[in-house]
């Protein structure tokens, strides 16, 4: 494929035919353009179905709903870029959220550790990510099985911390209204998601860590052969994903103002399809944070619009699941080959 494309451009150069700037721009950004167009089309359809969709309140609503999945999707993008998968997101989120609430001012009493509540919660999440990463790289357990186990370990930690007492809720009103308050015309949680995404994009583009991540995902054997510290990179990716899940857990708790062990249920189902339709390949090595941001906005627009069009919320996971299937089938379609092995 690549060689024919090269031959074409060489031909073009040889015949002196100028390559159109617009055409090459479209070619380079085909995913971003097609997702943006899909969001636009969806917005028009939903506005016709229910005029309330295009109201300012609802747009704020969409951004508010997109905040949490966006944070999670950034972590998931890193993991998918190295060709692995992190299924532990929901478990790690509940463990971090529960730790956070119990260490800050809450209805169950206890000491308010202030700033340290954030540190310990995110630290715990990063530690869970670290264990996943080490088990994956050193013990060579496939990432989907390690993180499936870690999902339930996280849930278990949250359930044990929760105990048999009443549900703890936040007693600090400034904190429990933080997520929906606005700055720069955007709800705080979306703003935080955007900041995490921008940091992620900068890390990926401008640090050696980011470049090694892409190289590992692209071809691990060659990366190793070139002396890159592949294992260290993979563990770092899982630690970052864990820490980001921890942040997401805290945000989820703040949004609800309270916490129970199932607080994160359903989040994996928005984040994963969003990353995949954002153009990040499940095989690794290819993808972008911009794609992920747009993927999250597309999915949130879709679920929000369906709710406004009076579709039962029971259909929510089916929509995400269907989109996940569609996205992976479309990306795999061109690579079909009788001799290709996919597990």
């Amino acid at each position: 494929m690549a060689s024919t494309a090269n031959a074409k451009s060489m031909n073009r150069a040889a015949t002196g035919q100028p390559t159109s700037v617009v055409a090459s721009f479209i070619k380079r950004n085909v995913e971003v353009i097609s997702i943006s167009a899909s969001i636009f089309v969806l917005a028009i359809i939903f506005s016709i179905l229910n005029p309330r969709f295009a109201s300012v309140e609802n747009l704020e609503n969409i951004l508010n709903q997109a905040g949490l999945p966006l944070i999670i999707a950034v972590g998931a993008t890193f993991v998918i870029l190295i060709g692995s998968i992190d299924l532990s997101v929901e478990g790690v989120m509940s463990a971090a959220g529960m730790t956070f609430v119990l260490m800050t001012a809450n209805s169950r009493g206890g000491t308010d550790y202030g700033f340290w509540a954030y540190v310990v919660a995110i630290g715990l999440a990063a530690a869970l990510g670290f264990f996943s990463g080490v088990l994956f790289t050193k013990v060579k357990v496939p990432s989907f099985i390690v993180t499936l186990g870690m999902w339930y370990v996280g849930l278990g930690v949250a359930t044990v911390l929760f105990g048999t007492d009443t549900m703890p809720f936040l007693t600090n009103d400034d904190l429990s209204t933080w997520a929906s308050q606005q700055n720069l015309g955007m709800p705080n949680n979306f703003l935080l998601g955007l900041i995490v995404a921008i940091l992620g994009a900068l890390f990926l583009r401008f640090t050696s860590f980011g470049r090694v991540t892409l190289a590992v995902g692209n071809n691990e054997e060659i990366a190793r052969g070139n002396g890159l510290k592949v294992n260290r990179n993979k563990v770092t990716v899982f630690v970052i994903a864990g820490a980001i899940s921890g942040i997401a857990g805290i945000v989820a708790t703040i949004q609800l103002g309270a916490v129970n062990p199932t607080i994160a249920a359903g989040n994996l189902f928005i984040a994963l399809p969003a990353v995949v339709i954002g153009g990040t390949s499940l095989a690794g090595g290819k993808g972008s944070m911009l794609g992920t941001v747009l993927g999250v906005i597309l999915l949130t627009t879709l679920t929000n619009g369906l709710t406004l069009a009076d579709v039962s919320p029971n259909f929510k996971t089916a929509v995400s699941g269907g989109i996940l299937i569609l996205a992976i089938v479309i990306t795999a379609w061109s690579q079909r080959d009788r001799l290709r092995i996919s597990k």
Partner: protein, 329 residues
């Protein structure tokens, strides 16, 4: 996947022998150890119908785990099986009320079709099985919510024959568990003595080799997932037999992890090509003992999912066959 030749290092023979020994008697030893532990620490367990409780909760785990083992055996994984179980149970409860006695047969056909759809997409579009079944998991879960209206569906009519499965039994072991054991025997026979069964194991051991040997790998994958759907449906039947009702959040809605754990503790390899359905019986019994055993050693009941998660990670880590230069994703 990798084609390198593994040179067996010095002392490697012992390792191979240990692995073989684990695969043949390991699951039984694990189960007997846990059983003895529980019997010693809580002597009342045996007197108070503890065996019946373990066998009945092992029944649905066993059926789901057998399906999972067949799928793991070809090197894939089915994350949607537990949601098929619940959807099947809900549909069964509803159709028993309206259609009547033919309902179980009808439902088993429907769940087999669900499994076949998984298999067809995986085999013919070549997408990773964990990603596809995660997607269908979401769809089946939604379908269960929508069909049941997010409430409990009770069996009001024609349920006696199915409930009898749970209420009758031999020596305190309910028939639902016997059903699981029969399914295990059939699966064992299928894998050891039939052409498609042997070919499935061949796919798990070396898929490229299987393709070049002229094995119809794609249709066998479809068959493996269809069987997983069918067995998940049987698990749904045992849930109706035990509870007389089904709901999206009720009994059996959390079978995914126990099912994988039972398959792996039963000696099934996560990378394919190795499974013994008869040992999965002991895997399922061990998993059903986990809550009782962890209570016996003083682990709080809230920590149950933590124990399941750790069991999976540790068992896979201990039993995984690995070579130092292979790539794991």
């Amino acid at each position: 996947m990798t084609a390198e030749i593994n040179v067996v290092p010095a002392g490697g023979n012992l390792k191979v022998k240990l692995a073989k020994a684990w695969q043949s008697v390991g699951p039984l030893v694990v189960f007997l150890t846990m059983f003895a532990l529980v019997a010693i620490l809580t002597p009342t367990f045996l007197g108070n119908g503890g065996v019946t409780i373990v066998a009945s909760s092992a029944a649905s785990v066993l059926l789901v785990a057998l399906g999972q083992s067949l799928v793991l055996n070809i090197g894939s994984i089915d994350l949607s099986n537990a949601s098929i179980t619940i959807l099947g149970a809900i549909l069964l409860a509803m159709t028993l009320n309206s259609v009547g006695a033919i309902a179980p047969l009808f439902i088993l056909i429907v769940v087999s079709i669900f499994g076949a759809i998984n298999g067809l997409i995986i085999a013919f579009t070549q997408v990773p099985s964990f990603a596809l079944t995660l997607g269908t998991f979401g769809i089946f879960q939604s379908a269960a919510l929508v069909v049941s209206g997010a409430t409990t569906v009770y069996v009001k009519e024609n349920g006696d024959a199915i409930k009898a499965l749970y209420q009758s039994g031999i020596g305190g072991i309910p028939m639902t568990f016997a059903l699981g054991v029969i399914a295990a025997l059939v699966a064992w026979w299928f894998l050891r003595f039939t052409r498609p069964g042997l070919a499935m194991t061949a796919i798990g051991k070396n898929e490229s080799g299987a393709i070049f040997s002229g094995i119809k790998t794609r249709w066998l994958k479809v068959l493996a997932f269809t069987m997983s759907g069918f067995l998940s449906g049987l698990a749904g039947l045992t849930i109706i037999a035990q509870a007389g009702s089904a709901s999206p959040m009720g009994l059996g809605s959390d079978l995914l992890l126990p099912g994988i754990a039972a398959a792996i503790v039963g000696g099934t390899s996560i990378s394919g090509g190795v499974t013994n359905p008869l040992n999965v019986v002991f895997g399922a019994l061990s998993v059903a003992l986990v809550p009782i055993a962890s209570a016996a050693v003083g682990v709080p009941s809230q920590a149950q999912s933590l124990v399941y998660g750790l069991v999976i990670i540790v068992t896979v880590a201990l039993t995984l066959s690995r070579s130092s230069n292979s790539i794991v994703k």
